[in-house]
């Protein structure tokens, strides 16, 4: 069987690849370069000196652990709050449903920094500035829209007949949600969880404005590094470190979403 080569597709892939991959490769090379002077294409000296220097710093490890703890907490809380709400939006009809649903856009409809400053003022009175839970709260707001809108679409696409069949078999509404709707919507919900995890991990403005000076996440630390000393390698090493969680998230998502049991839709 002969297939025509899709040159447009290849060209598009090449351009996208160039734009996305090349900067990443450059940063990755910088992370392992000890001497790299213009106009050489590759560094003159490779080495792990900056890695040793970076990883020897306790504040890097503290920030990494802080970022992970924050992201896990925010994602878990967001799921706990948003998934039942998303189910309600998808399946129930109540007064003000559409207005409430659209209101989740509000937090993204205004310039974020102004909003953050206003919230920071309130948090200052509440004693939440520079606390772990203060940052959790502010980052939670950032995940709400994604964690409502994406799962709503996921729940809406679950065949209602499947839920009815479970009711028919003797399951109450909560059991139906837990045993049928949630697993059926799982791949999409998982994608939303990953997006909110990664989004929280890289969130900078809120973490900085509310968390400083006590709470220092990886991106906040990186900003201080870059501001204090223009050594490209420090930034590069931290960047590469920052890729690690999203890389694992990506692998995990591929495994789950690509797996046969979910890829094959049924009865639709």
């Amino acid at each position: 069987m002969s297939r025509r080569t899709d040159w447009t597709g290849i060209l598009l892939a090449a351009v996208l690849g160039l734009v996305i991959v090349v900067p990443l490769v450059v940063v990755a090379i910088w992370a392992f370069a000890e001497v790299w002077r213009y106009p050489s294409v590759l560094p003159q000296e490779f080495g792990l000196r900056f890695w040793n220097a970076t990883l020897a710093r306790p504040d890097v490890w503290a920030a990494m652990s802080m970022s992970l703890r924050l992201s896990v907490t925010v994602t878990a809380l967001s799921a706990l709050i948003c998934l039942p709400a998303a189910y309600a939006f998808a399946r129930l009809d109540f007064p003000g449903r559409n207005w409430l649903f659209l209101s989740f856009l509000a937090s993204h409809a205004f310039p974020k920094f102004g909003l953050l400053v206003a919230i920071a003022g309130i948090f200052l009175n509440l004693g939440l500035i520079s606390t772990f839970w203060g940052v959790v709260l502010i980052q939670l707001v950032g995940t709400l829209m994604m964690m409502i809108w994406i799962p709503v679409a996921a729940f809406q696409s679950v065949d209602r007949r499947m839920e009815e069949a479970a009711r028919d078999a003797g399951a109450g509404p909560v059991r139906v949600f837990w045993s049928i709707s949630l697993p059926q919507a799982a791949p999409t919900i998982f994608a939303a969880l990953m997006l909110s995890f990664v989004g929280t991990f890289y969130e900078t403005e809120g973490a900085w404005l509310i968390g400083a000076p006590e709470i220092r996440t990886m991106p906040v630390l990186m900003i201080t590094f870059i501001n204090n000393q223009i050594v490209v390698q420090y930034g590069a090493v931290l960047s590469v470190l920052l890729w690690v969680p999203s890389f694992f998230a990506l692998l995990f998502t591929r495994r789950l979403v690509g797996s046969q049991s979910f890829a094959k839709g049924f009865g639709v």
Binding site: R161, R167, A169, G170, P183, S261
Partner: protein, 354 residues
């Protein structure tokens, strides 16, 4: 097993009466088919029996107990859905065992009951498969097994064979009938396939606009449709408009004596009740001939432009354009939409000639 009775049941959607008020009693072990055009309320009726729709009026009783306000999970009914509605994230056995697990049965009993019901639907050894690995017919059987394993008092089926091809549908309905009779389970079946209803049902309920047009055994329904609507809806029927004048129909083809009051009427003749004889002077002309294998369908036209359909045996296949003489073995008349009671005594086989 139990009886199912719907009394004065009514349902409206958005102010429009889908079912204005209807009574239906189903005996123990009976298989009743709900038949009707789209929007006639048959699915709504079934869903009210299953508890998926709350009736606005009337009561639903199962085995004499009022279940009108009972949610589906509490009712002794089991539903088989048109789309199968199998849970694709579970195995075949997982689908069937779900309801049993909710009832907190011991694990060993669940396993043995799942195996027994898989055996019953002819899928022994398929328990570990994923549902999407099965063919359409197998999925349908899993859906039936999932309903049967709970030993429901009432089995509800919502066009369960609609997505299957012709052969599979015929086989599945034989198998379903077989299982239903073996278990003696009271069954309400929604379909818009009339051949399915005729083949399966003890009794067919024909619905139109949420009202029962006729509820009778399949042979009665086919041979003596009570209304003009049922006569036209079940099978093919030739309707010939005429007037009754002094006890006689004035139709040029069938000027038969009918003891009916004067006024407009329609003569109704099944295509298989018509017999064609070639006759150059005959009153009808063959327009088209379609061969269905088992019989040949001739499309006829009178000189007035009136159209009729007639079955002929394949060996007596007429040619298009040929003129024919017609005789009817059986004929009935409808006045004001209802079957006219007076059937002339001499309308017996071969007695009527055009």
């Amino acid at each position: 097993m139990a009886t199912l009775s719907l009394s004065a049941i009514g349902k409206s959607f958005g102010g429009a009466d889908v079912i204005p008020g209807l009574d239906l009693d189903i005996a123990e072990g009976e298989l009743v088919c709900l038949l009707g055009p789209s929007g006639s309320g048959k699915s709504t009726l079934l869903r009210m029996a299953g508890g998926f729709e709350m009736p606005d009026r009337g009561t639903v009783r199962i085995g004499g107990a009022d279940v009108t306000r009972m949610p589906p999970e509490k009712r002794p009914t089991a539903m088989v859905f048109q789309s199968h509605a199998l849970w694709s994230h579970m195995s075949v056995a997982g689908n069937i065992a779900f309801g049993l697990k909710l009832r907190r049965l011991p694990r060993a009993e669940i396993r043995s009951r799942v195996e027994a019901v898989l055996e019953l639907v002819g899928l022994a050894g398929y328990g570990a498969r994923k549902v999407w690995q099965l063919s359409g017919g197998q999925q349908q059987r899993v859906a039936i097994a999932r309903a049967l394993v709970l030993e429901p008092q009432i089995l509800l089926l919502d066009e369960p064979f609609a997505s299957l091809d012709q052969h599979l549908r015929e086989r599945m309905r034989e198998e379903l009938r077989d299982i239903q009779q073996r278990l003696g389970i009271t069954t309400l079946f929604v379909t818009h396939g009339q051949d399915e209803a005729l083949a399966l049902a003890d009794r067919i309920v024909v619905l139109k606009d949420g009202r029962i047009e006729q509820a009778d055994a399949p042979d009665v329904l086919y041979r003596a449709p009570a209304t003009r609507f049922v006569a036209g809806f079940i099978g093919t029927m030739n309707f010939l408009a005429c007037d009754i004048r002094r006890g006689r129909a004035d139709h040029p083809l069938f000027a038969v004596p009918l003891a009916l009051p004067d006024g407009p009427a329609e003569l109704a003749i099944r295509p298989e009740a018509l017999r064609l004889t070639p006759d150059a002077e005959g009153p009808v002309r063959v327009r088209r001939v379609t061969d269905y294998g088992s019989h040949v369908l001739a499309d006829l036209e009178t000189d007035d432009g009136e159209r009729l359909k007639a079955h002929c045996p394949p060996e007596a296949r007429p040619a298009p354009g040929q003129r024919m003489r017609l005789s009817a073995r059986q004929l009935s008349a409808y006045q004001q939409g209802r079957r006219a009671e007076a059937s002339p005594a001499h309308l017996r086989e071969g007695a009527l000639h055009a």
